[in-house]
Amino acid sequence: MTAHEILIFIFIGSLFAGFLGSLSGLGGGLIIVPLLVLFLHVDIHYAIGASLIAVIATSTGASAAYVKEGFTNIRAGIFLETATTIGAITGVAIGSHLSAPLLSLIFGIVLLCTSISSFYTKHTVDSKPSHDKLAAFFKLNSSYPSKTGNIPYEVKNLPAGYLVMFGAGTLAGILGIGSGALKVIALDNIMGFPFKVSTTTSNFMIGVTAAASAGLYLHMGYIDPLLSLPVMLGVITGSIIGARLLPHIQTQHLRIMFGCLVMFIALQLIYKGIIGTI
């Protein structure tokens, strides 16, 4: 393909990926890599590199908006980022030794699990103060703004949350995704952060984790500029369009439709991984 064709096709494909990711809430990385690999015939290593760049871009853009609103718990972000960045380096070390079919297989399994779990959403409603000693030591208890003033919250289960964050970072390093869903689970379901704090703090962390992976992959030659640029621009534009459209669409039908589509993509990846034709 010529440079013109690459920029245009990849941009359009990534536009669709960003749009789909934003509407389904599954995040960019999980959609970008399969789209590039299955439909645009890009080798999975290049796809992982380009996906990480797109993840950093969308995370940076979103964070710029969230920091001002006061929901992000920066201490929680930094504290847990020690886990995710070490995880990211571990992930890169592991992933760079895996073959393309194996990566495709792992990716398909993770995608399948994520799409199935997205049908079940449980948010913590329990907001009783936890008096957790570790949480107090690490100064993670805080408050978030609301119409009635600042609402305080306390968190717990730091070791479990920390471990899951390490896992999320490792997955991000191997697959080139943001692992946002897993991070929100760790923050919200395991540690008990309020939902809006979990999502904004997770977003804050996603960019840092991706940067840790991207830096290493850059030196390993995984990141191609001609591929990464249209992916980055396409995904940002697509997710903005998706976010604008989201309030106007019925979420239930959407969920089911996208869940099925994503499951189909996941199965294709698994199939190709097993056959080894990727």
């Binding site: 013109h4 290049y46 960045t85 408050s143 305080p152 500029p225």
Partner: protein
């Protein structure tokens, strides 16, 4: 326990937010300039991404990249934009580190320094 934010902290957060947005636009600007240069000079050269060969040294190794940029290589310019993009989260962590130094929060000065060091190890 409620945390009251001093005006200095709020100001730092505002600077952080603006820096993030500016950094994103800067990286896009640089990359798009590189892409424009590429299309003008070289639009019909073919590229193939279906096989992984790994990027050549002048696109993955920093000193070599700098050299290529000074030569005006369009791909290197796009890569520079990407490099600036990767710097953004690192800058974010640095800003948090400065915030913690200002607040004399020794625990988090250490934690943020660890994250910062890991990121530097990755990018350099």
């Amino acid at each position: 326990m409620e945390q009251k934010k001093s005006t200095k902290v709020l100001k730092l957060e505002y600077i952080l937010s603006s820096t993030l947005k500016g950094g994103l636009y800067l990286s896009i600007l640089i990359s798009v300039c590189g892409a424009a240069l590429l299309l003008i000079n070289n639009g019909y050269h073919t590229f193939d991404f279906s096989q992984f060969k790994g990027e050549p040294r002048d696109l993955s190794d920093l000193p070599a990249l700098m050299h290529e940029i000074l030569n005006g290589d369009p791909l290197a310019i796009i890569q520079l934009g990407i490099f600036v993009l990767i710097l953004n989260p690192i800058l974010r962590v640095l800003t948090c580190l400065i915030l913690f130094i200002y607040e004399k929060d020794f625990l988090y000065i250490v934690l943020a320094s660890i994250v910062f060091a890991i990121l530097l190890y990755s990018i350099l």
